[in-house]
């Protein structure tokens, strides 16, 4: 199946320059369901010259897009609805109002993050394009690598000569950019250099745990390759992660149980972007349900990130992260892939 655990787009904790003003989320949420475009008309009918220009740009030599029986490349769907240099004339008042609200609060930049298209019938030269779009979702305020902003999702129904031709779901991030980039400091390729295979001395290190008297026993267990679960000596309830008291009966008294190491994947995400220092995406982060019943967040190893499945049996392993640091992780059991 085309499962794909939802990966969070470009989200990272980083303090941005924040000239923007937080907006009450209810004001943004109120735009959900409002039209983004109504009975809009494509500026040009589907036509051979635009198809040819597209194919030239993409390096696409597919003969299906050439000659008297040519169809348009399906991925051009959105191109037929674009406003171009002269802009959109068919946008709804609601869409303009949402953008004005975000612009006014300092979220002035736009970047597209997702595009999901379904093609219902081929487009051919001469087809007249019409479309309607709705604002499907406006996210809460998110901190991303680019800056703080809101994701806006629209869904568009595209028709050709009045017949349904395709659907187009589009997500953008409307954000407040970080400080301008110094134009002369540009390099090729620029921006964040890919983490090189640097010598160990300068390699970024995984973040260290903060060890305190409430969790020291857990880390002492890890050092001895034992995964210890806390147990309330009052009501015998197991708890993880470690806490000073029992959330069931309130007792501060506890002892420990060593986990057998057996578990299953209760849920997981795959982190693709952004890359954090000392991490090598994509990788799977699992919520593992231990045989004892408690759940813990951990890396899933020994299986490609896109083969991780909910319910997959896993087994405790201790991974040496660097010379002085080991972490518990969970290894997919042999033959456990579904």
């Amino acid at each position: 199946m085309s499962e794909v655990a939802q990966e969070e787009p470009v989200t990272v904790a980083r303090s941005a320059r924040t000239p923007e003003t937080p907006l009450p989320y209810e004001r943004l949420k109120a735009f959900e369901g409002q039209p983004a475009a109504t009975a809009a008309v494509g500026k040009d009918p589907v036509n051979a010259p635009m198809i040819r220009h597209w194919c030239e740009a993409m390096g696409d030599a597919n003969p299906a897009y050439q000659g008297p029986d040519a169809i348009a490349p399906p991925t051009m769907l959105q191109a037929w609805t674009m406003g171009g240099l002269s802009g959109h004339t068919d946008r709804s008042g609601a869409f303009d109002a949402l953008f004005a609200l975000l612009d006014g609060a300092g979220y002035t930049s736009v970047v597209a993050t997702d595009c999901e298209q379904e093609y219902l019938r081929p487009l051919r030269p001469g087809d007249e394009i019409t479309f309607d779009a709705v604002i499907e979702a406006v996210s809460e305020r998110k901190t991303t690598k680019l800056g703080v902003g809101h994701f806006v999702t629209t869904r568009m129904d595209v028709r050709a000569d009045g017949e349904p031709a395709g659907t187009h779901r589009f997500r953008i991030l409307k954000y407040a950019p970080h400080a301008p980039h110094a134009p002369h400091a540009r390099q090729n390729p620029p921006a964040v250099p890919a983490p090189p295979a640097a010598p160990a001395a300068s390699a970024p290190r995984r973040p260290r745990p903060v060890i305190n008297r409430d969790n020291a026993g857990f880390w002492a267990g890890v050092a001895g390759h034992r995964l210890l679960i806390q147990r309330c000596t009052g009501c015998r309830t197991l708890r993880f992660p470690w806490l000073p008291g029992c959330s069931r009966c309130g007792s501060p008294e506890w002892d420990t149980v060593e986990a057998s190491g057996a578990g299953t994947v209760f849920s997981y995400v795959v982190l693709h972007h952004p890359p954090f220092p000392a991490f090598d995406p994509p990788y799977a982060v699992g919520l593992i349900e231990l045989a004892e019943g408690v759940r813990m967040v951990s890396n899933i190893v020994g299986v490609p990130h896109d083969r991780v499945r909910i319910g997959m049996p896993v087994r405790l392993d201790f991974q040496r992260v660097d010379e002085e640091f080991e972490l518990p992780a969970f290894r997919a059991a042999a033959g456990g892939e579904g």
């Binding site: 199946m1 085309s2 794909v4 990966e7 787009p9 470009v10 220009h53 597209w54 030239e56 740009a57 993409m58 390096g59 696409d60 597919n62 003969p63 299906a64 490349p73 399906p74 991925t75 051009m76 959105q78 191109a79 674009m82 406003g83 171009g84 240099l85 930049s109 736009v110 597209a112 993050t113 997702d114 595009c115 999901e116 298209q117 379904e118 093609y119 081929p122 680019l146 800056g147 950019p177 970080h178 400080a179 301008p180 980039h181 110094a182 134009p183 540009r186 390099q187 390729p189 620029p190 921006a191 964040v192 890919a194 693709h272 972007h273 952004p274 890359p275 995406p281 994509p282 896109d306």
Partner: protein
């Protein structure tokens, strides 16, 4: 063809010309796709490829492989690391499902910064496709 099969990779040099040509062919005149100074003003180190071009390249990757008689049914992509000029993107695909003349392919396009695009494409295959 079966689930798990891998498509041959496609290497796409990310030139300034490709970024600008793709933006214009898709009617996308956002300045961050053609004006370096405007891009810098918005916090980007350079111009970067627009999503419509990425979408077009992903579509081309599939139709190049399956041939002119295949039909794209769905293309769903998510962008991560931007495609800046001077970089190279390598598209790779893995068949995840084959049923009733339709294949689902998981596509990843990686550049020097990480994954530029991840996505899923559903394509109908002409009869007789092995």
């Amino acid at each position: 063809m079966k689930a798990g099969d891998e498509l041959p990779e496609l290497t796409v040099p990310i030139t300034r010309t490709l970024i600008v040509a793709g933006a214009l062919a898709s009617r996308d005149y956002q300045d961050v796709h053609h004006d370096t100074e405007a891009a810098a003003e918005k916090g980007s180190p350079d111009i970067f490829m627009n999503i419509l071009t990425t979408n077009g390249l992903v579509g081309r990757y599939l139709t190049d492989h399956f041939g002119p008689r295949c039909v794209l049914r769905k293309v769903a992509i998510r962008l991560g690391a931007p495609n800046y000029p001077g970089d190279t993107m390598v598209l790779r695909g893995t068949v995840t499902e084959v049923a009733d003349g339709t294949a689902v392919v998981r596509v990843v396009g990686a550049n020097g910064l990480g994954h530029h695009v991840t996505g899923t494409v559903t394509v109908s295959l002409p009869e007789g496709t092995e």
